[in-house]
Symmetry: C2
Subunit: 210 residues, 2 copies
């Protein structure tokens, strides 16, 4: 086992520290956030920090890096229009999705730059990703600053959900391997998912050790 | 495509709404949080909401449901000792990890109940999961209430990291498929990960559309 103490982590190179600490939470979802500026400029950016916060109301958060760093177009657009979309990235489009993280100028649509397709659904101003088989629109709720390191959590309420029927069970389980949803670890390692098991709601006494 | 509007989602059964909204963020990591009470009672509980917040200092968060609901042993232990561990769950132990979510009494160690092994490393009071090949100890920093729905984000600073050497590259990339790390969607669908690609840091102009 490699063992790294807090003091040793501090002495690592910046890139090695970034890679290690971004990897240890485990696999993260790969989502592309679609947004539009007040002038109508489309934006698409990859995020690995999308997280479920509650189901009723349906609240989804994502972590925004300190202002001045990357992703500012997405943030500006959400602040000015109040709407955005989150689109699960299929693993066959991992390369295209990853390249939306390049620092393109504001007047460049990442859809065009990487060859993905915008789609407009049911009156939402922000673009969806046509290639995604699980996507939803959100209305901005609030931005919670995380004082300790200057990041923030952006919280939105889910408005309209679109999922390929083939992946949805009667009880609302969604099979991510049917949808070919990608996972990511660290900043740039992409994974395909293979479903191995569904377990029932766990109750004490129902578990038999092998 | 299945389309569910906000109004329709509200009218769904509770279980179907829970499953859908827990699934749409995409794949989540499966981590077991180890903790210990002041009286020395071990606790182990599965969490799918562990998230990277920053690398320097190394900050990791997880979402805690409203007080009065589940997971209170983990929360109480963290509050009283200030220490806990996060342990990536190998997919071969998915069943055991899932069953730590059953509501065992406070005097039951989930390690014993499901047949997993506690391990104590380098002076950390909280137990690690011996079967995990990627794990770390944390010191509690703060609890950020999410007013909107009564949940909270618990933030900790990473103290000691342990990762199987076989999975760590020179630059600090950690290959989660080598470690057999599990993923989860919704509340009970488990996945194995297959690494498909590493992409370099993305710069405009370096991307060639097919």
């Amino acid at each position: 086992m490699m063992h790294i103490s807090k003091a040793q982590l501090k002495d690592e190179s910046r890139i090695r520290r970034l890679n290690i600490v971004n990897s240890i939470p485990g696999v993260k979802p790969v989502n592309l956030i679609g947004s539009i500026s007040e002038e109508g400029q489309l934006n698409l950016a990859v995020f690995s920090s999308v997280i479920h916060l509650g189901s009723n109301p349906a609240l989804i958060g994502f972590i925004l890096r300190p202002s001045g760093e990357v992703r500012r177009h997405t943030h500006e657009n959400i602040m000015s229009t109040g709407e955005y979309t989150i689109n699960a990235l299929p693993s066959v489009f991992a390369r295209q999705g990853h390249y939306t993280s390049a620092k393109f100028d504001a007047e460049v649509s990442e859809f065009d730059a990487v060859g993905l397709t915008p789609e407009f659904l049911d009156g939402c101003k922000a673009p969806f990703l046509k290639e995604s088989r699980m996507k939803y629109s959100l209305r901005f709720c609030e931005e919670m600053p995380i004082q300790r390191n200057g990041t923030a959590m952006v919280i939105g309420e889910v408005m309209d959900i679109y999922v390929d029927d083939a992946a949805v069970s009667e009880n609302g389980f969604i099979d991510l391997s049917v949808l070919d949803c990608a996972g990511i670890s660290g900043l740039n390692s992409y994974y395909r998912l293979e479903k191995i098991a569904d377990f029932p709601y766990a109750r004490p006494g129902e578990f038999a050790k092998e």
